[in-house]
Amino acid sequence: MVMEVDRKLLEHVAELARLKLSEEEIGKFLPQLKEALEFFSKLKEVDTDNVKPSFQPVEIKNVMREDKEEKCLSQDDALSLTEHKKDGYFKGPRAV
């Protein structure tokens, strides 16, 4: 578990998460994240050989339903919460 949390890594992770950090934020977050990750690294002390991960705390089965059409939101309702729409579609920023 070798890791060096530096400015470069922080900016890279932020970019993956679609966040642009200001100079002030970088200065503030960098030591805070270092401290937190160092603390979280203590998980490596726990022996987890042959242990299965629990993605849920209780056992859950897959839930299926019949492949039948059900009532859903109307197009008008779905579009009612945004100004960014055109011809019955959501309008987004340019793709390229």
């Binding site: 679609r18 977050f29 979280f40 490596k44 242990v51 705390p57 839930v63």
Partner: protein, 479 residues
């Protein structure tokens, strides 16, 4: 007046429910100017509901007789969707979002005649323990007992109004890593976080899918049991909802606790726990013993030592994926459509998410990144397995486990300012274990020290909420 008596009076038409609701709204507005418990007061919806109930009572509508919450005011944590009422989870990125549907729990509350009064303040998306990590432009709720102190978090507004309201009222909170029991402890009220999956999460604005639980906060254990009776159950719109038989929680209120076994978690009374807190929690344990329960020490190695790291790795990982959908396009806040996809989304997110939300998104994105995923995210999921096994072993011997809810008395805002994010996270040390393991847990108020409340935490096995209510009720009676 107890909620039980209030409902009786409403049913007998002895209370003008419209007039009562108007008074409640005025009181909430008044309290809010000083304490900031509400992000939104849903005046219109509340009066509309009250008028409907009034009409049905006047027409001697028969089905009203069985309504469990008739006329009772229910406040709702902002992260739970209420149709046509702004629901933002305390974040500016969701400003203006008025859901087109009710969450499962809101459907149930409305069906039982409960009146929705408003959306309570919280840490942004639930990211905090003091309700100070609020979204950009929101106000920090204050402790109802001392305004210079925190009311806890993240369901801070819910716990605060539960203590402060003079009218019959119960609150809906939500816990991911302790956000029901912790504020309940700081505000001297009961808070019950149910088993993961016991209450459908449909309509809850996600923080961590494998961790989020909706539960009641109230002044008495009876109130908490009543709201649990209403909101429990399977919901087909939540694939993680447990399809198990419903319980009658209220019946546990009067059950004797004789011969019940309570395990005192040894590691939870170690260094870092304020002596005033420890003393009062032991008073609570004594009350349990006086009512006939047997208490004995037990050592649990994993939850206190590794719970925080496990919880924050799982919680931030899940949060970072859940929050990826907020990008200012289909709902919530939006900006002028300028620049490319990535430029637009980055601009909206950077401007409208608060500091703690950004920190957690970054932590979670890091933990899931190629090269780090096995060491952090998957590792935490494996430690969770071991933690659940350790708890399960303890529950073979004990009906419930006990610890302080929070190691310290409610701190002043001036003290909180000095904490680093990691020191902030440490406040959840008692609570992350049961939350990671999906175990039901209850805050029971046990006393006051330096004029500040202390809470005791009771933890039970999966689906054993009844035992918590039984034990909590015994402590309440003993006081």
């Amino acid at each position: 007046m107890s909620i039980h008596d209030f409902i009786k009076k409403v049913k007998n038409n002895e209370i003008d429910i419209v007039e009562h609701t108007q008074k409640v709204i005025e009181e909430c507005k008044e309290i809010n100017t000083e304490y900031n418990y509400f992000n939104t007061i849903s005046e219109e919806l509340a009066l509309q509901q009250a008028n409907n109930i009034q009409k049905l009572i006047k027409n001697k509508d028969k089905p009203l007789k069985n309504k469990k919450l008739l006329g009772v005011v229910i406040s709702v944590k902002d992260g739970i969707c209420v149709k046509d009422v702004e629901s933002t989870a305390g974040s500016r990125i969701l400003q203006g979002y008025k859901p087109l549907f009710d969450a499962f729990v809101i459907q149930r509350v409305k069906e039982e005649g409960g009146i929705i009064i408003g959306k309570t303040s919280q840490d942004e998306f639930g990211f905090g323990s003091f309700s100070v990590n609020i979204g950009v432009g929101y106000k920090v709720p204050k402790n109802p007992i001392d305004k210079e102190r925190s009311c806890g978090g993240s369901s801070g507004g819910a716990a605060g109004i539960s203590k402060k309201a003079s009218f019959p009222h119960i609150s809906l909170g939500e816990s991911t890593g302790g956000s029901i029991a912790e504020p309940a402890s700081f505000c001297d009220v009961f808070g019950l976080c149910p088993t993961y999956g016991r209450v459908s999460r449909y309509g809850l604005i996600d923080f961590g899918n494998s961790l989020d639980k909706i539960g009641p906060i109230g002044r008495t254990i009876e109130d908490v049991a009543l709201l649990m009776d209403v909101i429990e159950g399977y919901g087909k719109n939540d694939s993680t909802s447990l399809n198990v038989k419903n319980e009658d929680y209220s019946k546990y209120l009067k059950k004797s606790i004789k011969e019940m076994k309570v395990g005192i978690i040894k590691e939870a009374f170690a260094e870092g726990v304020e002596p005033e807190v420890e003393k009062n929690v032991y008073n609570g344990i004594e009350e349990l013993e006086e009512e006939g329960a047997k208490a004995e020490e037990i050592s649990l190695e994993l939850p206190i030592k590794y719970g925080l790291a496990t919880y924050y790795m799982i919680g931030t990982s899940e949060a970072s994926t859940n929050l990826a959908k907020y990008c200012g396009m289909r709902y919530g806040i939006s900006e002028k459509l300028e620049g490319s996809f990535n430029e637009y989304f980055t601009r909206v997110r950077s401007k409208n998410l608060g500091d703690e939300a950004k920190r957690r998104i970054i932590l979670g994105t890091f933990a899931r990144m190629a090269g780090y995923r096995d060491a952090y995210y998957i590792k935490a999921m494996k430690v969770r397995t071991l933690m659940i096994q350790e708890y399960k072993k303890a529950f073979k011997k004990f009906d419930a486990l006990v610890s302080p809810t929070v190691p310290i008395l409610p701190p002043k805002f001036s003290e909180i300012e000095k904490l680093t994010p990691l020191q902030n996270y440490m406040m959840d040390v008692m609570l992350v274990g049961p939350n990671v393991a999906g175990l039901p847990h209850l805050n029971v108020p046990v006393g006051y020290e330096k004029n500040l409340p202390v809470g005791m935490l009771l933890i039970a096995d999966h689906l054993q909420e009844g035992k918590l209510i039984q034990l909590g009720s015994a402590v309440e009676k003993g006081k």
